[in-house]
């Protein structure tokens, strides 16, 4: 995997390996290549894809919340916040 970054400072190869492994562990199960060795490029690609899908979810949820709170009146917004902070 270290050869994937040809020309980079060799001194941090182990650090990079460690961080790449950690990154892999942060991907959800479905996105992890369970077949032991994963190429750096594949891992980065999965990571980028995961980030994009999370960002899309934030967009979609923002629209959804916008619709939901438009349907609320003033009192219930306050009530919802108080309820969630004290429950």
């Amino acid at each position: 995997m270290s050869s994937a970054w040809t020309g980079r400072a060799r001194a941090t190869d182990d650090d990079i390996k460690e961080l790449v492994a950690k990154l892999q562990s942060l991907l959800p199960e479905a996105r992890r290549r369970s077949s032991g060795r994963t190429s750096a490029a594949k891992l980065l690609k999965e990571t980028c894809s995961y980030i994009k899908s999370l960002q899309r979810e934030v967009d979609d949820l923002s629209d959804r919340l916008s619709d939901l709170i438009s349907a609320m009146d003033d009192n219930s917004a306050q009530a919802e916040i108080i309820r969630s902070l004290l429950s």
Binding site: L19, A41, C48, S62, S66, M72, I81
Partner: protein, 147 residues
């Protein structure tokens, strides 16, 4: 603020630095947006404001950990107008697949362009966890409101 006020641990990998400050920030921002009685000029406006609040609350939650992505995101959010990005054309040798993926990652992670590779990987891990936590939070709020 009690730790029990967590949205039912929706995050399968609970972040030890739980997004508590971001949680309150987001809820208050939502309430402010909801109370804004100014007539909505376009239907997407509230959605965009909520989206901004989501990213702001993520950055706020990450601030104690002094993450570079958090600072970069806050800078980006504070810029009122979108400053046109300099389009620098540089001719380079053909990049490896890994290098192209690294470039894409740098574009996706706030502040990613300025980081060395090690920092980029570290910051990416943290950014991912925060994004996932923010999504869980928003799902929880949506569920709570719609019940």
């Amino acid at each position: 603020m009690h730790r029990e006020i967590s949205p039912g641990n929706p995050n399968p990998n609970p972040n030890p630095n739980s997004p508590m400050p971001g949680f309150c920030y987001f809820l208050h921002a939502l309430a402010r947006i909801q109370q804004d009685v100014a007539p909505q000029r376009s239907p997407g406006k509230k959605g965009r404001r909520i989206r901004r609040a989501a990213y702001a609350s993520m950055a706020v939650a990450a601030a104690p950990r002094r993450m570079a992505w958090s600072r970069a995101l806050l800078r980006r959010l504070r810029r009122r107008s979108a400053s046109p990005r300099r389009k620098t054309i540089t001719v380079t040798r053909k990049k490896t697949r890994t290098e192209r993926q690294e470039d894409e990652l740098r574009r996706l992670v706030p502040g990613g362009r300025r980081m060395d590779l090690c920092s980029l990987l570290e910051e990416t891990g943290d950014y991912l966890q925060c994004l996932a936590a923010q999504v869980s939070l928003m799902q929880w709020v949506a569920r709570s409101i719609s019940e």
